[in-house]
């Protein structure tokens, strides 16, 4: 006689940790519970890159914080430099010169093109198209060489966009080099738009997100535009000189991973258009407010609070800064777009998906763990 000791586990259920040591996931882990081929639930596991930025910024003066702010998100350092510089400018009431505003817009848009190239590259390798990855990172080097010539470093520009303006002026011949690089980018976009049967089969109809769910879960940026809502911080509350430049906001109505991928390519075309217009209208003059020409050790920030929103490559980036009259900010809260994309939106989209669709959904959200953990 065989006694039944414990109920036998159901044969087809198991746990899978799609984790940080996996070559297809970046440094972020997701715990999946799977039944056969279908994912029944997903739980995000953040915290591998937590450095405590909000506390670090309370012990440093604004010019030192500008050097620190390019490490908030590694893949788009100049855009975060811009958010922090705008917050301090508004708190202190500084008038930024015109030439500095145009240079800030040019550098921010070049950084957006560079970040979308990385998105295209890792999305291709996640769905199996290796040539796309190598092509993308090869063309990205042209933009990194441009950054090295203008700011002094390839990846980290060390606070190039600082409170008051920018740290250095363009060297001689920079405008011609930028135009040559933009022609190369146009060539790359023509190659990217060729038909790719692997991507069509793996990304169409996968990871559908409706508009009402997207707003409830807190999605912004290309994820919300891929669901059909036409919104962009650069058009709704224009900052710097975006109200004088002419560009369009791409929107798609299919709501799936393929729509988000096509929006990335369209946005690169619009960014090239913005940089060309800004280069034509670039005026002469100073590049930094006279008060900040030499860095100063103690600068008093007047009392007050401010909330600044910007459109980073991944969505809505914002900083809430409070000051109590000393030379260091009292509280600096950073709102990153990926904090919402990687935890609520990812857990909602992975539920009920097939296991082979997990990389396509994961990479179509354009995630960056550095921006989530800060």
């Amino acid at each position: 006689m065989i006694d039944q000791m414990e109920p036998a586990p159901k044969d087809t259920e198991y746990d899978l940790y799609f984790g940080p040591a996996h070559p297809g996931s970046g440094n972020f882990g997701v715990k999946l519970k799977i039944d056969g081929e279908i994912v029944t639930s997903a739980r995000a596991d953040p915290g591998y890159l937590h450095r405590g930025f909000e506390k670090l910024m309370e012990y440093r003066t604004p010019i030192q914080n500008a050097v620190l702010s390019d490490r908030i998100c590694v893949l788009e350092p100049l855009n975060w430099n811009l958010v922090h510089a705008e917050a301090v400018d508004e708190l202190m009431g500084i008038d930024v010169p015109e030439r500095a505003k145009y240079i800030r817009v040019i550098m921010a848009e070049l950084s957006r093109i560079q970040s979308h190239i990385i998105w295209y590259g890792v999305f291709s390798i996640g769905t199996g198209f290796d040539t796309g990855f190598k092509m993308a990172f090869g063309y990205r080097d042209y933009i990194l060489d441009l950054f090295e010539m203008i700011t002094g470093g390839r990846v980290y520009p060390a606070g190039y966009i600082c409170p008051g303006g920018v740290r250095r002026d363009f060297p001689n011949g920079a405008a011609d080099k930028i135009l040559k690089v933009l022609d190369k980018m146009g060539e790359m976009i023509k190659l990217e738009e060729l038909e790719n049967p692997a991507l069509d089969a793996r990304a169409r109809g996968v990871g559908t997100l409706k508009v009402k769910d997207a707003i409830r879960l807190g999605a912004t940026g290309p994820v919300l535009r891929g669901s059909g809502m036409k919104t962009d911080v650069r058009k709704e509350e224009p900052y710097e000189v975006y109200d004088r430049l002419d560009f369009e906001v791409p929107v798609r109505s299919e709501m799936d991973a393929y729509a988000r991928y096509m929006i990335g390519i369209e946005e690169m075309k619009q960014s090239i258009k913005i940089v060309k217009q800004a280069l034509e209208e670039l005026p002469e003059g100073e590049v930094i407010a006279p008060k900040f020409k030499r860095p100063r050790v103690k600068v008093k920030i007047p009392e007050g609070e401010v909330y600044v929103r910007n459109e980073a490559a991944r969505g809505e980036a914002a900083i809430y800064m409070v000051s109590d009259g000393e030379s260091k900010p009292y509280r600096c809260k950073i709102r990153g777009p990926d904090f919402l994309h990687m935890i609520p939106v990812l857990e909602y989209l992975l539920k009920g998906a097939q296991i082979a669709d997990v990389p396509a959904i994961y990479w179509s959200l354009n995630i960056c763990p550095a921006d989530m953990d800060r």
Binding site: G218, R331, F339, P344
Partner: protein, 170 residues
């Protein structure tokens, strides 16, 4: 008054007639409102019906000298394109406040989970307040102003033998 700030003034008047608040318009598209704890959920529900559907961020500021935490809610309206900030104060020794997950669902839940771990504020009504970033943390909440991080790091992580770290032991 600036002719472009009409809609902001209209919203501020409507709120002022229904609830007991103090508000000001900082510049175009920015309204700041301070209110008392008890009206919070009602006002949030009313604001969501008026078009403020996007919760941008929730944040906590630690005012040590006054002995209070200040919780701020930043709301954005896609219809009117205005950002409205709500500020309330709670006691620092026993920080408890009602959660807004009944109104903004998962968006608010993840913000409150992070603030619970880093500041120690308890949100009544939130279904999941487990730790998010830190693992095996046996010390007071780290982002408070009276957390002595130098003492914590010296005891747990630094190494007296290393020549470059000896400097921090005096």
């Amino acid at each position: 008054m600036n002719p472009k700030e009409e809609r902001e003034a209209q919203i501020l008047e409507e709120i002022g007639s229904k609830f007991d608040v103090e508000g000001k318009i900082q510049r175009e598209r920015r309204i700041w409102i301070s209110l008392d704890n008890k009206d919070l959920i009602e006002l949030c529900g009313w604001l969501k019906n008026q078009g403020f559907e996007h919760l941008s961020a929730i944040s906590v500021t630690d005012w040590v000298k006054e002995g209070k935490f200040e919780v701020t809610y930043h709301l954005w309206s896609y219809k009117d394109k205005i950002l409205l900030t709500l500020k309330t104060k709670i006691d620092r020794k026993k920080p408890v406040i009602e959660s807004v997950t009944s109104i903004w669902k998962e968006n608010a839940q993840i913000h409150e989970r992070e603030l619970h771990e880093l500041f120690g504020v308890k949100f009544k009504g939130n279904s999941d307040l487990s730790p998010l970033f830190l693992e095996d943390w046996h010390a007071p909440p780290p982002f408070r102003k009276d957390f002595d991080w130098r003492k914590y790091v010296r005891e747990e992580h630094y190494d007296k033998e290393n020549a470059r770290e000896v400097v921090y032991y005096d």
